[in-house]
């Protein structure tokens, strides 16, 4: 499964990067979203992938029983998902705004600070 995940992550990164390199701002946003998926999966895969061992403590126990999915990366990813959403939303609105102001969504035309 690890190998498969590695492949998936690579392709997600590649397509995200390709989209970010486009000149259209819409594609830039889609690329950012793909990149954040890729990064989340990367962190997820770096910890051991385990099936059916969520980091939840059983009613009968006082601590997590031995093979368990690592909670630390999960906490990181949770944060990353939320922040990623904030970034996406902000970027989408900003692009909307830039288009309103400049009338273009071509990044290469935005190479000066004056519009």
């Amino acid at each position: 499964m690890n190998t498969l995940m590695a492949l998936l992550i690579g392709i997600l990164y590649a397509s995200g990067m390709y989209m970010v390199l486009r000149r259209s701002m819409v594609k830039l946003i889609i690329g950012l979203a793909l990149l954040s998926h890729a990064a989340n999966l990367l962190i997820f895969t770096m910890a051991t992938l385990r099936r059916d061992r969520p980091p939840l403590i059983d009613e009968s126990e006082t601590a997590l029983a031995a093979p368990y999915a690592d909670p630390v990366p999960q906490a990181l990813i949770l944060t990353a998902i939320v922040i990623g959403f904030a970034v996406s939303a902000f970027a989408a609105i900003m692009i909307h705004r830039v288009y309103q102001t400049t009338g273009t969504d071509d990044l290469d035309q935005l190479h000066t600070t004056d519009s």
């Binding site: 992550i9 999966l41 601590a63 998902i81 939303a89 000066t112």
Partner: protein, 757 residues
């Protein structure tokens, strides 16, 4: 240095007297220096011991001599500045800069640690930049200041490199220890170190071909020119060479470099001074020439030469400082410094006249003055040079004759002859203006008549510290006519005769050399200009190329650099293991991965924005499923909510944006595709190469054990977020809030109306 801080405040309290008070304070310093006996052992205070950087003060003969010159002339200059820029609002700034410079200069001349000397050396460059550019609203002054800074700064870099090489070769940065270090001259690093140090010293002391910045520096007000560019700063290079003579001197290379460059500078400077008409530029060129003479004498390196060198150092500081101040006084009185116009001022300015005459006579090397002794000694030294003696003597003769004529132009001519028109308005300056030059002139006379007393012992010690060991220096006004002394006397006579001839011929000389002089004097200047403009142009070109304002190219550069560095470090891993851990795969897992891949490709390839957004959403759902399958229920829940919101938001926003257009050429597409594929491949490789269990750290174990006990929660991820790392979560919430505020602000803001539209 401390005084530099006080100066502006003092000026506010007592605007009329500040200069005089400061001058008195520095004079007190002078007295202190004069009363302190010189000694060879340095005083060491550790400053940054890990760098071998110590504040070590070497108050030996040379140090004391220079400290006396710096503080003595410094106090007179402060007084002089008070008169020269009387009532000028910038006077406090001038005092502050001058005193800061004085502090740095004292550091250079007294420093016993090469690194410490270097620090002070750079400080003098910086303060001198401020001082030359004192009239910062004039472009010419700014250009001259920048030029001086760049030339001496470049030299300073060479010096630093040279000093470090010396430290490596000699095992110490302490001058005393370096001088005693065995085998330094045979060390492999000797030659590069010497060349670098010489580059530093030559730029600072305005040796050919770096001499051009010194006449340019005459843009500064006269007190500054008189102080920095005659008596002190330009001597820093000479002092450094003198300091290093015991450690580095005595080799063929040392002799050749110093005599070659010093001799050339001596000729160019002294002869060049004859072609100038501006009094200050005349003096500047002659200073260049004198610096060349000093370097030449250190290069010769015999006892006689070093004795001549220190005598000359003192004599020159006295008369050149005085002449500069005289030039400034004349300028102040009649508002011109043109040597062809000035005439007949003697009657109107008798005291300045007297000072000028004394200084000029000393510069000419006329009998009862200190300059005479110095010149005699330099002739003796030239006659006794181990090699090339006839050439050195001839060059010295030419240079001294030119100096004689120069002194006549500056110190004698303006005061004699028919009174010029403006001289009716000419008047003696205030007490501040004439005291300095007069005192220096009287010193020149007094020291000459008294044959160096009370400085004879000091000069002897100074020459000794340059030589490396003490030896006897006989300062006599009349050394007799036997042997070399007789020849020297003969040469002096010839000097006077040729000098007088040159003076008489000064007008035809100026016109004759008109064309020649520009070619000769400006050639290095032109090289400097070319270099300066070239580097500016190259910087502009580089900026345009690198900072082209295209996000695309920035990203490409970053990604490729990242890939390069990562691959390089992967390559250097001794045990690079790429493990294909296929393990157990279930069919539906393959299905999910395939789903993500397909939707990802659709998102990339799609010509329709909506299709792309939907595909993005599908990919997000696939990721959600993966989280759910591999024990991340919280992740799955969050992801699905966020994904839904994202898709909704994108649909709403993109609805208002234009359709896709074909913006990039095929070449750009292929290029970007390649970059992306390389990047994706690298990430795959990284995942495969990293062993899986790296995050099974004690940290996770801690949370697993304590989540319920200390956090009272059974969902470990939740407990981490809201309890153990609650502050981080607070930060996250803040980010969200900030983003929300930004979004609202951007939505509510009305677009600004474009001008002209």
């Amino acid at each position: 240095m401390v005084l530099a801080v006080i100066a502006p405040a003092l000026h506010r309290v007592a605007p009329e007297q500040a200069g005089r008070v400061l001058a008195l304070a520095v004079a007190a310093l002078f007295t202190l220096f004069a009363l302190t006996p010189h000694e060879a052992a340095p005083l060491v205070y550790a400053w940054a011991p890990s760098l071998d950087l110590h504040v070590s003060l070497l108050f030996d003969g040379l140090g004391k001599l220079m400290a006396l010159i710096v503080s003595g002339i410094g106090s007179l200059i402060l007084l002089y500045a008070n008169g020269y820029l009387h009532g000028d609002a910038r006077l406090p700034r001038l005092y502050a800069a001058l005193l800061a410079f004085m502090g740095a200069m004292l550091g250079v001349v007294l420093g016993g640690n090469l690194l410490f000397i270097f620090v002070c050396w750079e400080l003098t460059s910086v303060t001198s930049f401020i001082l030359i550019g004192f009239d910062h609203d004039r472009p010419a002054a700014r250009a001259a200041a920048l030029q001086a800074l760049l030339v001496t700064g470049a030299g300073g870099l060479c010096l630093l490199a040279g000093v470090i090489l010396l430290g490596v070769a000699g095992g110490s940065y302490e001058l005393v220890e370096l001088a005693a270090a065995p085998g330094l001259r045979e060390h492999g690093l000797y030659v590069p170190a010497l060349l670098l140090v010489l580059a530093g010293a030559f730029t600072k002391s305005a040796q050919v071909p770096f001499h051009f910045w010194l006449p340019g520096a005459m843009e500064a007000p006269t007190p500054i020119s008189a102080y920095l560019h005659s008596a002190t700063m330009v001597k820093a290079g000479v002092v450094l060479l003198a300091r290093l003579n015991p450690a580095l001197g005595g080799t063929e290379l040392w002799f050749g470099m110093l005599c070659g460059f010093g001799g050339a500078t001596m000729l160019v400077g002294n002869l060049g001074s004859l072609f100038q008409t501006d009094l200050k530029r005349v003096l500047a060129y002659s200073t260049v020439g004198m610096l060349g003479t000093l370097v030449l004498l250190i290069g010769i390196g015999t006892q006689a030469a070093l004795a001549a060198c220190v005598t000359m150092l003192l004599a020159h500081a006295l008369y050149k400082g005085a002449l500069f101040m005289v030039a400034g006084g004349v300028d102040h009185a009649v508002h011109t410094r043109d040597a062809t116009v000035l005439s007949g001022l003697g009657r109107a300015m008798p005291i300045t006249w007297a000072a000028a005459t004394l200084a000029a006579l000393s510069c000419m090397g006329v009998l009862p003055l200190l300059g005479f002794i110095a010149k005699e000694k330099s002739y003796v030294a030239a006659l006794g040079a181990p090699e090339l003696a006839p050439w050195i003597v001839a060059a010295s003769l030419a240079a001294n004759a030119a100096a004689f004529a120069m002194a006549a132009i500056v110190g004698v001519r303006p005061f004699l002859g028919r009174p010029m028109e403006q001289s009716e308005h000419a008047h003696e300056g205030s007490f501040d203006l004439w005291l300095g030059p007069l005192l220096l002139g009287v010193c020149s006379l007094g020291l000459g008549v008294a044959a160096g007393w009370p400085f004879a012992g000091l000069l002897e010690a100074a020459a000794g510290s340059v030589y490396g060991s003490e030896f006897e220096v006989a300062l006599k006004l009349w050394a007799g006519t036997e042997g070399v002394y007789g020849q020297a006397l003969l040469l002096s006579g010839a000097t006077v005769a040729i000098g007088a001839l040159l003076f008489a011929l000064r007008a035809p000389l100026r016109s004759l050399a008109g064309g020649l002089r520009f070619a000769a004097a400006l050639a290095p200047q032109r090289v400097y200009q070319l270099l300066y403009e070239g580097s500016l142009g190259a910087a502009a070109l580089l900026t345009r190329r690198v900072q082209n304002g295209l996000l695309n190219s920035y990203l490409r550069t970053v990604v490729l650099a990242l890939v390069g560095i990562s691959l390089w470090s992967l390559w250097r891993q001794p045990h690079l293991m790429v493990s294909f851990n296929v393990g157990e795969i279930r069919t539906y897992e393959i299905g999910i991965v395939a789903l993500i891949l397909v939707s990802c490709l659709v998102a990339v390839r799609s010509e329709s924005r909506m299709a792309a957004i939907v595909a993005l959403g599908v990919a997000g759902l696939g990721v959600t499923l993966l989280f759910a399958l591999f024990s991340g229920p919280d992740l799955a829940m969050t992801q699905i909510m966020v994904e839904t919101l994202t898709v909704l938001l994108f649909v709403l926003v993109f609805y208002h944006l234009p359709q896709y257009a074909r913006l990039s050429s095929s070449f750009e597409r292929v290029r970007d595709l390649l970059v992306s594929l390389i990047f994706g491949g690298l990430m795959t490789l990284l995942v495969l190469a990293s062993s899986t269990d790296i995050l099974d750290a004690p940290l996770s174990e801690f949370y697993a054990q304590n989540s319920l006990v200390k956090g009272h929660g059974r969902n470990v991820v939740n407990v981490i977020l809201v309890d153990f790392r609650a502050l981080d979560t607070l930060g996250e919430i803040t980010v969200l809030a900030a983003a929300a505020i930004g979004v609202v602000a951007m939505l509510r803001l009305k677009p600004a109306r474009k001008e002209g539209a």
